[in-house]
Amino acid sequence: MSVATSAPRNYLTEGTSIRSWLLTTDHKRIALLYLVTITAFFVVGAIAMALIRLELMVPNGTMINAEEYNKMFTMHGVVMVWFFLIPSIPTVLGNFLVPMMIGARDVAFPRLNLASWYVFVTGSLFTMAAMVLGGVDTGWTFYTPYSSLFSNGHVILTIVGVFIVGFASIFTGLNFIVTVHKLRAPGMTWFRLPLFIWATYATSLILVLATPVLAITLAAVALERLFHVGIFDPALGGDPLLFQHLFWFYSHPAVYIMILPGMGVVNEVICCFARKRIFGYEFVAFSSLAIAFLGFLVWGHHMFVAGQSIYSSMTFSILSYMVAIPSAIKVFNWTATLHKGSISLETPMLYLLGFVGLFTIGGMTGLFLASLAIDTHVHDTYFVIAHFHYIMVGGMVSAYLGGIHFWWPKISGRLYSEFWGRVAAGLLFLGFNLTFFPQFIVGYLGMPRRYHVYPPEFQVWNVLSSAGASILAVGYVLPLFYLGWSFFFGPEAGPNPWGATGLEWRTPSPPPRDNFDETPIVTEEAYAYAAPEVAGG
């Protein structure tokens, strides 16, 4: 308990110079470095999104022209995927929490961890330079031969940036894998680990195994663009589908890089605010690994109409359906965890219950896309856009913001305004649904993605979507203000404001440099919430 005598030294007060931040190897400080960086990129991606939604208010928008529009959606995609979503929960919450949750003083390779941030910043400089120098118009998928031979944008510069940030991902993933294997506190067996750790571990496996394939694929695109040697050019015997195979071998699992850590956050928050042990711990834990594994077997469902063999398509289709099983297990277990709990709807809980709902819709519409016949109609339409935004924005961003709110008292040592928190969570949920639900409809009607002009009968849905986006924007901006305020002026939180279990709550807020004054010893399972008092029972 931090009594208001002289404040105990914590990781924030341990050296306050810029230098002490830039050369830190403290996982908590690196988490904050990442937090600031990816927030900046989120703003960049969101501005591109705002321009896109404004342009689409009318069927023949002239606010920006075709070329600018193409660059905008490419920038939105590239920045949001590689500079926000993929690093988001792993590098911010993961870096902050993984060592603390397992009772370690730091990650296994602290210098590698810092290197990861520098590599990330270096890579982002390249991609940002490409954006500033005139942008790139290939879409975030860089499909060949358009990207390799036809586009006039700064493809190589962009690719170099993405190539480099890939190494930041690999460093982070490698670090977490080794940390979870080797640095668990005494008594912290695998089945006593918080489920956030299981999810982060599964994510790290994907980071380590998929990212190199993307790196080499993008290198091949750059090579092709520089020298035109025919790796993906049909005129020289190359196969453009090879690019798609390799790209999606990374980019489909990348979707699970984005969603798995979010699922991890759900477990922590729901257990805390239902004051109850998770329902079916082992099933939730193994479903994370199952999703990470199956996620590698389904990439071909992006290629059902791309000219892939139909037998291959069928294989990928049924494997895609299999991913639905562990996802369903998770949703049902979360719901069952609420049963007979003692539920209070604090801000993080609102975000995460929103996550469960939106993820369910996103996941169910994934079944439509896994269905060969339906995908043959909705492929590359707004139906797909809506589906993956339900997963990535409705799911991942909700979980990220919910997680930030949940652990904010630990990160900053302070409380934020519960009222504004609930308002922001509510706006996010409303704005999100209004933005993206109409896109399912307009997608089934046949509006293709990456169109800046469209037939007038689609306008109603686009206007609804743009209106929703403005509400969504308010939902995003609000936390910046009240969390920023709380960081400096909020009331002190104390070590455990939510009454949560978990080792991270057993240390002061903000935690000291080495997290724990002495190594904790774990004697019980995760989520050992006291059985609720049965009032009048």
């Binding site: 036809f150 586009s151 005129a235 329902f279 099933f283 109409v305 539920i343 079944l367 002009v453 007038p456």
Partner: protein, 314 residues
């Protein structure tokens, strides 16, 4: 001018089948989402902190639940897979008597050729009630033929031929989109598909400038670009004769065999040395750049029209 649409027009046999699957899945999804959302709301109210709800019997018997909500989704998933896969498989099996229409995509327009002769750009006229098979290729990057009213989609790749087929049912005008991002004017690379009653279609075919058939245009090219110098009837050069070639089995000098299909002939024109016929030396120059993709299609149509033992069908 804004017509408000809830559902896309349904103008092919395939569209009816896909819609049946789609709306079944919408129903199923609505059921699951309502169930999950309902349970969450109900639990949040009933078991809110401090409520007097009964919280005893917190047993750990969860296995029956886990197994049931693993097994039931699994069975449903497999069922949905077969439903979708079955329809999809049919989409790749055009009936033998389907009417062929040739499609070339290029930045940023669509060219259509009817075997009877008419050529169209960005507009496609089709007869209702008849199976149509599009034979598609691209001249530059990847495009995609997307006709929402037919619920059909396929990428169009440079250097390859893909087909998609459908049977239009309802006369009317429908959107045609390119749905694979292809550069600057991607959003404008579309057009209109006009489905007409068969009689009107026949009338449309006959009307306007009478055009020679595709095979006839192919024959003209065959002479003009110099193919006939070697492959023609009286050519002195020892080159394979092309009559009866289409659809036959060709033995290659590397010991393998291929079926001489559209792709084979196409590749031979632009990349002759890659598949040399056994017994011949590769003397043929590449015609890459000398003929466009739509001209190659015409050459293929001509070669296709040659019956075995015939030198020239025209």
């Amino acid at each position: 001018m804004n017509e408000f649409e809830w559902v896309p027009p349904r103008a092919s046999v395939n569209a009816i089948q896909v819609d049946a699957l789609f709306y079944s899945m919408v129903g199923f999804t609505a059921l699951v989402c309502a169930g999950v959302a309902g349970a969450i709301v109900y639990f949040c109210l009933k078991y809110r902190l401090g409520s007097k709800a009964d919280r005893r019997q917190l047993g750990r018997r969860y296995l029956p639940w886990e197994f049931s909500w693993t097994a039931i989704p699994l069975i449903i998933a497999i069922g949905l897979f077969f439903w979708g896969a079955n329809l999809y498989f049919d989409m790749f099996r055009p009936p033998a008597d389907a009417q062929l229409i040739y499609v070339v995509g290029k930045q940023w327009m669509w060219k259509f050729e009817h075997p009877e002769g008419p050529r169209e750009i960005n507009d496609l006229h089709l007869p209702a009630g008849r199976a149509i098979e599009l034979v598609m290729t691209s001249q530059d990057v990847i495009h995609d033929v997307f006709i929402p009213a037919f619920r059909i989609h396929h990428d169009v790749l440079p250097g390859r031929y893909y087909t998609e087929w459908f049977t239009p049912t309802t006369p009317g005008r429908y959107h045609l989109f390119c749905s694979q991002f292809c550069g600057y004017a991607h959003a404008e690379m579309g057009g209109t598909v006009t489905v007409m009653p068969p009689a009107d279609y026949a009338h449309w075919l006959a009307r306007g400038n009478p055009q020679p058939s595709m095979a006839a245009r192919g024959f003209r090219l065959f002479v003009e670009v110099g193919c006939s110098g070697c492959h023609g009837e009286n050519a002195a050069v020892h080159a394979p004769k092309l009559a009866g070639l289409y659809g036959s089995v060709v033995h290659l000098s590397n010991g393998t065999t291929v079926i001489a299909d559209d792709r084979y002939i196409h590749d031979h024109i632009v990349m002759p040395g890659s598949q040399v016929v056994v017994g011949y030396r590769n003397l043929m120059p590449s015609f890459k750049g000398l003929v466009t993709e739509d001209e190659i299609l015409e050459l293929v149509a001509y070669i296709k029209s040659l019956e075995p033992g015939e030198r020239s069908a025209l």
